[in-house]
């Protein structure tokens, strides 16, 4: 984590266990425009693997993530689908 990422929406999934963080982020994605960034905060350790896997499968871009005292924050940019 070097520069702060511009965040359009913040999603608090702290305390939620698998599979709720990915469900929450999938639902939150609906309200975002292409190119907008969502920050997801989670405490479920499984989310470290799940959010990147979710991003890879859905095509959204995981910009970066960080961890501060047990809270993982993932920064995901919503992808556009025009090129498909």
């Amino acid at each position: 984590m070097s520069e702060p990422v511009h965040v359009d929406r913040y999603l608090d999934a702290k305390g939620q266990m698998c599979p709720m963080p990915v469900i929450a982020v999938k639902k939150a994605m609906k309200d975002l425009e292409r190119g907008q960034v969502i920050a997801i905060a989670a405490t479920d350790r499984g989310a470290c693997r799940d959010i990147p896997a979710w991003a890879e499968q859905t095509g959204h871009k995981l910009i970066t993530w960080d961890e501060q005292s047990g809270v993982f924050t993932f920064y995901v940019e919503k992808a556009g689908w025009e090129d498909e």
């Binding site: 939620q16 266990m17 599979p19 709720m20 469900i23 982020v25 999938k26 979710w54 499968q57």
Partner: protein, 202 residues
């Protein structure tokens, strides 16, 4: 003298030809590999089966109701099209008020995290006790209930299919099951599953 000259001029030309051939071949092989990989990647990306999951939920205990619903909701969150076929005891999950009634059996379940001989699981009251314990453990760790997972599955458009044959055998009416499910048989599940790379029997 003349022969020598001819050979001297001919040899480099042949070497050059061979060199060109080799280079072209190598470049072509490289380009072709990249093109083929690109085409395959594009095809698999478009492959709808990669984005489809077909799951069978065949168990009706509290512990075994979780895996199909967790995987179904996670797959749906990953933008996959998901169908869950509820058959045999798994059909209890789709009964109205069913998720609340699911129990975990301590008997013949040596993995049960209870420090007592497994045979005691046969005593009256042990199943409700084990069920309460497991629900407490899940709640303590913030794991959502089976009912909540089912609600999420419905919200995420997971296709819930109730097994017609099980309904007949167990005497369930359509109205005994939640409105959001549909009713089908082995063939309708298989027809759906034939278009899915991910198929799970739980």
């Amino acid at each position: 003298m003349t022969i020598d000259t001819e050979r001297d001029t001919l040899q480099p030309a042949m070497d050059l030809d061979r060199l060109i051939d080799e280079r072209v071949e190598a470049a072509l092989a490289k380009r072709l590999d990249a093109m083929v990989a690109e085409r395959i990647a594009k095809a698999t990306k478009r492959d709808p089966a990669k984005r489809t999951a077909a799951i069978i939920a065949s168990k009706g205990t509290l512990d075994m109701a979780y895996p199909p619903l967790i995987l179904a909701t996670a797959a749906a969150a990953m933008e996959m099209e998901v169908g869950v076929f509820f058959t045999f005891y798994g059909l209890n999950i789709l009964r109205k008020g069913g998720p609340k009634k699911l129990k975990v059996a301590p008997i013949a379940n040596p993995a049960m995290p209870v420090p007592m001989p497994n045979i005691l699981g046969m005593l009256p009251g042990m199943t409700p006790m084990a069920t309460t314990m497991m629900k407490g453990m899940f709640a303590k760790h913030n794991v959502v209930s089976v009912g909540e997972l089912l609600k999420q599955a419905i919200e995420l458009d997971v296709k819930l299919i109730a097994c017609q044959m099980t309904m007949d055998v167990m005497g369930f009416k359509r109205k005994d099951l939640i409105d959001e499910c549909e009713v089908g048989g082995a063939a309708s599940f298989l027809s759906f599953a034939s278009g899915a790379h991910t198929t799970l029997f739980i």
